[in-house]
Symmetry: C2
Subunit: 101 residues, 2 copies
Amino acid sequence: MTNADLKLEALADPTRRRVFELVIDQPLSVGALASTLPVSRPAVSQHLRVLKEVGLVTDRAEGTRRIYAASPSGLAELRAYLDTFWQRSLAAFATAAEEQT
Amino acid sequence: MTNADLKLEALADPTRRRVFELVIDQPLSVGALASTLPVSRPAVSQHLRVLKEVGLVTDRAEGTRRIYAASPSGLAELRAYLDTFWQRSLAAFATAAEEQT
DNA sequence: CCTATCTGTAAGTGATAGCTTACGTAAGCG
DNA sequence: CGCTTACGTAAGCTATCACTTACAGATAGG
């Protein structure tokens, strides 16, 4: 149960995934995110908390508002995690091909 | 809402992810999977149905039992999906670097 | 200061999802 | 043919989770 597991589970929710996609392209405030989404502002705030806990986003204060941005390193961990699946899949496939002959 | 979304959501559940990991290394029957996991056999069967629906596993009949195997192509789709996130993340980072100067 | 803006948190609610037990079905074996 | 093995499905229960409204805290501005 690595930390990448939590990242994957965090991106499972559709609206939370949309939040993440939005902050990928450009850092945004909570209110700006909420105005684009079909949910209330507290809901967005809760999603951002989850994304921050698993290390997919970072936040900085800017006056009264908080700017959230995607974390490339966090996303890299998830990518690496899925790559282990991919490599194992290829290894099993190669083994099966040998036994076939 | 592509099909890769469903793959990601399918792997969000811990036990379903364990099922998938098991069939990655080697094709297994439902009973063999259930004996290794802390859940009942019907539970495993339901997980396999979801994994099959989203295209992460394939199944073949072998006598009375069904053998499930991971689908490399299905996993490739999920990888490609995450790569779009990754590339967008890099693009945004490059843009921010330019504006910085 | 006083107010307005922006945000996080608490509490409560409705729906979804994973699990179990019970049942029905198809394929091998004596 | 019974009988066993292996599996899928239906029904029901429980817990989790995403959402809402209401409230509290912090910062800028007149």
